[in-house]
């Protein structure tokens, strides 16, 4: 379970919080939701297509929802008349490092190819405050969690009330563009958007299912990988923790089906053609952040949304080639390249061959 710094919510606790404090917390939420995506994608792209497909499907499904959560936090921020900031170098976390706002030394997040050890990090990120113990888990500690961070934001919005919101809808990404997106215009819709984020990430108090969407909460999806089985309802379960069991279809890990891309690469990790591939990926990734920034700052059109989707597909295509060591077959030993997810607003081009 991620522990966040108490300072993140302190300004939200007064009876009438400063709207600027709510905006600061929401910007932090945008950064936090984004911050998990590179580490998930890095492991996802390390999986050899055709093997480990069940694991890939699970990670992919979580990434898609993290993007939704990032969008929902932007929707709330826009609804209160503030502007999300996505296109700055500091928006991207440093790997290895803590998640934004994470308690120092508590959890270090890495860019690593998929492994059960890396999965442990994913589980720690997504662990709910009070998980259902379909398998035994340690008890939660009274700290600031992602769930309580969002609850503090939701409560603060509720206390300030409708005066917080500008006439709208303002710059909203709605369900016409993104499945399950919530158009935020007032306290109720803002709190609903936050509930979607928390529900999909942590699950409901009653069970592992999402109230919104059709899947299990992220933590339980990742547990399916850990347990090697799909989580399925158990009609004979008596106690709450027996109502689901990890007894469904196999979710096997084929360790041979993982490309040996490096841990925590940076620009300096690579040279020659590999550096060029990594730079090009990062330029595309930076372009995506800029496109998303425009999308949530007034260009909330289908055309702009499509541009962002196109950039995501381009990243996927590039990463698939890099991690597989393509162009292929290479002369000499294959160098598997993992993207370093760094801010790269200028494409420097290839190093000279000579």
């Amino acid at each position: 379970m991620i522990q966040l710094q108490k300072a993140l919510i302190e300004d939200l606790l007064p009876d009438q919080p400063d709207p600027a404090a709510i905006a600061t917390a929401l910007q932090h939420a945008v950064e936090l939701e984004h911050a998990t995506i590179p580490t998930y994608l890095y492991s996802l792209y390390s999986l050899v297509p055709g093997s480990n497909d069940a694991i890939a499907e699970i990670i992919d499904s979580v990434v898609v929802e993290e993007m939704l959560h990032m969008t929902l936090a932007c929707n709330v921020l826009n609804a209160i008349g503030r502007s999300p900031v996505i296109d700055e170098p500091g928006f991207i976390p440093t790997f290895p490092g803590p998640l934004p706002g994470g308690v120092e030394g508590q959890l270090t997040v890495h860019l690593r190819p998929f492994s059960m050890a890396q999965l442990d990090t994913f589980l720690e990120i997504e662990e709910p405050e009070d998980p259902h113990h379909y398998q035994a888990l340690a008890a939660a500690e009274p700290v600031v969690t992602i769930g309580s961070f969002y609850q503090a934001i939701s409560a603060a919005i509720g206390r300030v009330g409708e005066s917080l919101f500008v006439a709208g809808p303002r710059y909203q990404i709605g369900p016409d563009l993104m499945n399950e997106a919530v158009v935020v215009t007032d306290v109720a819709s803002a709190q609903q958007a936050i509930t979607v984020i928390v529900d999909q990430g942590e699950g409901t108090a009653k069970g592992p299912e999402e109230t919104f969407g059709t899947d299990y909460a992220h933590y339980y999806r990742f547990q399916e990988i850990q347990k090697g089985r799909r989580l399925v309802p158990n009609p004979n379960g008596k106690s709450p923790d027996d109502r689901y069991t990890f007894s469904g279809a196999l979710v096997p890990l084929d360790t041979a089906g993982v490309y040996p891309i490096p841990d925590d690469p940076a620009r300096g990790t690579y040279s020659g053609q590999q550096a060029f591939l990594n730079d090009t990926f990062n330029y595309t990734y930076t372009s995506l952040l800029k496109a998303l920034h425009q999308l949530v700052n007034g260009q909330n059109t289908p055309e702009q949304f499509n541009r962002a989707i196109g950039l995501m597909m381009s990243l996927k295509g590039q990463a698939r080639a890099m991690t597989a060591g393509l162009p292929n077959p290479k002369p000499g030993p294959v160098n598997y390249v993992g993207p370093s997810f760094e801010y790269q607003p200028v494409e420097p081009g290839p190093p000279s061959a000579s």
């Binding site: 595309t284 496109a291 989707i309 381009s314 292929n328």
Partner: protein
Amino acid sequence: MSYLSGLRLHFSGQFQTNVSTVNNDAAHFNNAAFKAEYQQMQGPNMSPPNGWFNPQGDGTFRLLGCRITAAHLPSGEVTATDPVLSYIVADSDTAVPAKLVDLDPEQQLTSQIFGLSVRIADAAGNTLMRGDFEPSAFTDIWDRGLTPGGGDTNAGAYWQSVLTNLEWGDIDDSPFLSALQAAAAATMLSIKFNMDGINLSFGSPDFMCGRLVGTIGPQSASEPRHIVLGRHFMSSAGTNGNFFRPAGLLNFCCARVDEQAESLLLDLGNALPTTIAGGPIANIGDLTVGYLTPEGADAPAVHALGIVPATIYTQPDWYATTAGVVSLPLTADQRAQVAERPLAIVNTQNQVSTQESPSGAYLRADDFVYRLSPGDRVDAAVCAMRFGRPLADTEVGFAIDNGQLQPTPDQPPFAGASPPVGEPLSAVPIPATATTDANGVARLQFTCGDPGNVRWFNDGKDYGIDGQVYGVRPSFVDRSLAAGPVNQWDFISFLIWSAWSAPHTPPTWADVEPIFRQYANLYPVMSRFLDLGGYASVVGNAWLLRLAFGLPVDDPNHMPVTRDLSPAKRAAIMAFLADPREGDAVPAAPAPAAAQVHGESRAPDAAAASKYAQGGKTAAAARRLVMQQH
């Protein structure tokens, strides 16, 4: 105006053209005979040829590391106090990269750039000007390196187009950009760049990259967009070129008299040869630029206007900082003379290397690549000019000329013969002539017919290449205007799609499977996303495919990347994706007819390898009809 103007900037850097090469062999369009190894990398010397040298290419075209190297105001070159000299020219930073696209497997020598956004940005990447590059094709491809052979690596070519939908940032600090913005009040800029020295060494850090050097200047709404309304130098063909090796060493080029700057601006950027592929400009001696008068017994007299000294143009940074543009000051008397006299460039032996037509007349289609459906109305502007001015009220003739198209012989490394080009002629009922208007523009107008499925394989039974390609060459009816060498590349390429309708309404998977299957075959990169040849995978990604197939052709995300899908087939695909139905079982690929298909990827012998293993453009140029007939 145009880029060839007293107001212009030059930039220099690299390009990347990561094209797929599986479709270099037109026989690979034969679904019934496609083999898995056609998606694999070729062996040494194309033994085996497989999917040629870059089967994993994704079609991207990128501007890389392009820096602004010089900028000129009409009053002279700007100094370092103008921050424009620290700026870069870059492509989009909010969308996927542009795509480089051939018209057709049987016309690969007019590759177009689609979806390019050009930016001027500061060194940190902050945009100061952004514009959309109107899709355009390269022309004047030639053997630029003086070393023999070398194929594509040794080639040079240029693109000229306009930037539209201009957006300007905070440019107050730059007098140059402020002047450019003021001149672009008509909303467009002109851009031209030369590319050479592509690296085809697989595994090299700059594989599929090469040198790009260009110029940006103002553009008026009334002038042609892809050709300079100016003075065009025509070069005679030498021998032993893959593409074109000019006898006088200088390639086709153009110039413009800039009245405001009182100078002749001569663009040698795609005309000066290099010592080696992508290398330094070769020393071919001092070049004298002059105008010709007819006196003299055997040869016209040359009246020098200025000299382009070899000591200047061979300086290491000259090409990067000028893009090959030379400015020669002209007196009022000289300007009066050149207004009525043909220009020439003369070498140190006083031989003409290249010159304007003796009449001073020149014509070329502005946009010279068209994709059309049966029933579409062609309206192609052909620009005629004389001594750099529009040539009005002049008859232009049109003739079918398929000589530069590239059908594939049944010979290794090709998997089989490709269908013939240029037939039936009923699809291109061109008029014999048209007359230029006051702006010197003659319009080639006709309504496209239906070529039918003339390029299907196995006697028309197996799905193949859509439609047909044709070449149409414009020329002056008055032969006195047309004396002198002709530029072989100055023709108009047409791809006319076949009439088609899906067998079922709404279309089923069985109806559209051959279309998807062909893309899956030819573009292995698609397998990173989905199995385009599989019903479940296509349906599972239907929303994404609808998005990409629904985008306009100049969108960089447009599918298919190759822009070779007819509107009729696109409509069927969109209808299928909106309501996917499996329909009839898709028949298994029929056993290929033995006469057409060979058992395995065929390695060429040494002679064929020397023609075909030097790059896709070289291989295409080697099988032009005009070459096969000689």
